[in-house]
Structures are given as C-alpha cells and as structure tokens.
Amino acid sequence: MLTCKDVCDNATRHIEGQSGLWDRIGLRFHLLICKECRRFMRQFRMMIGTSAKLNDLDQPTDKEIDELVTRLVSSQD
C-alpha cells in the first residue's frame, strides 16, 4: 500500500511515464482515497506547466550573429 510520502517521492516518475503497471494502479487507488495527494499531484502538475512558461531569452540580433561569425571564421584561419 502506497503512503503519501511514496506518492510525493515518485511524482516525477509517474508524470514522466516511468512507473510500472502495479505502481500506476497503486497510485490510482491511493488518489481515490487521499484528497491531500490528489491536491499535491494536481498542484505539482500545475507547477510543471508554470515553469515551462517563464522568461524567454531574446533571439540574437543580426549584429551579434555577425560578430560571432567573424570570430568563428577567424578562429579557423
């Protein structure tokens, strides 16, 4: 029988699809009876979605690309 700690410790393994069949069944059963773990798993997934949406880096400008190309070409000479 899974404990809440097992659910937490294996959350990434479950989400990444790396759990075996019995682990998946055990997790489903545990989530049916444990509202705290249901909340944890829902919010853990929400956190993953959030971290994918944080600040983006800017594409390099044409000038930056030109400078880097110049350095690369001269390094080959």
């Binding site: 809440c4 393994r13 919010q43 853990f44």
Partner: protein, 204 residues
Amino acid sequence: MFESEDKLIAGMIEGNDAAFRVAISHYQVSMMYLAASLVGQKIADEVVQEAWFSALKAIHKFEKRSSLKTWLLRIVANEGKTRLRKEKRMTSLEALTEADPAFASRFDGSGHWNPGPTTWDADSPDDLLTRDELKACMDQLIESLPDMQAATLNLRERQGYALNEICNILDVSESNVRVLLHRARLKLFRCIEHFQETGVCCTD
C-alpha cells in the same frame, strides 16, 4: 539554402559564413539557456562561444547519431562542466540527488502528510503567473538552483527534451536525471506554496 540539417552541417564543415549564421540563429538561444543554467548568466556568453569554437573544430567528426542541436548542447554541457570544475563550483551529484530535508519533514512516521499541501489560489499555470511577483520569484529560484538541477529542469521544462536525451546531453544516468529533475521540481513546488501562503518570495 540549408533546407536540411545535412546541408547545414556540410556548409559548416566547408566554413561557409551563411551556414554559421543559420546555425547560430537556430541554436544560440537553446545553448544560452543551458549554459546560463549550468554556469550562471554572467559567464554563459563565454561558455557558449567556447562551445561554438569546439563544435567547429569537431564538426567534421560529427557522426549524426543525434540531431545537430543535441550534439551542440552536449558540447555546451561539457564546456560548462569544465568551467565549473576549474572554478571549483561543481556540486557533486551525490549532494544534488539527496532527499530534500524540508520536504521529508512534511510527513509523519507512517508516511502521511503532516501538514498536507495547502490549496493554491489558482486553477492553471496561466492563472498562477498572473502575479508578476511570483513569476519573478520563480525566475530567482531557478537561477539559484545548483548547476545540474538547473540544467536538467531547463532541458526538460523549457526545451522539452525527453529524459533519455537529457542523459545524453549531460552525460548522467537516466535515474540521476529523474532524481535531479524531481529535486528541482520539489523546490519550485515549495517556493510556490510559500508564496501562496505568505505573499513573499522564498528567496527573500
């Protein structure tokens, strides 16, 4: 002009400026993301530039067992790790994969939550990110994560790499990648939970 990766690689081997330009515009941002998460924003530029020099020296030996992008990211990771070792800033994998004591103490002796996770005031990632302070807080936390945890999180969440591809890029086992990712995710989870409870960033 370089509509396929093979043509782009051939152009780079020939030393064609236009090929370098295309490669840089396609891959520089991903390389910068990875370098910044490994060595920090300040010297990420230098690490990426070193990676380009190394890549050009070795491009004629590239065996195409992975995509060009994955190969370039592997070179960035190697350059980054070399730099960290030189500066004695590399954190050991053992330390990075140890259980987080702050999370372990959330459970009682029989493994039940004590206390349980609090309910967040949001229904979706977009909902959570409507608070600029939380967004800034998560950015700060990610910047403060140890090198390999930050790099793993970056490759998985921001760049969408599968765990087996991340092993290849960072040269660590798949089980270590999974643990590094889980530890980083738990820190972010705690950070959001703390912000939800107090309105204050966990890094303040």
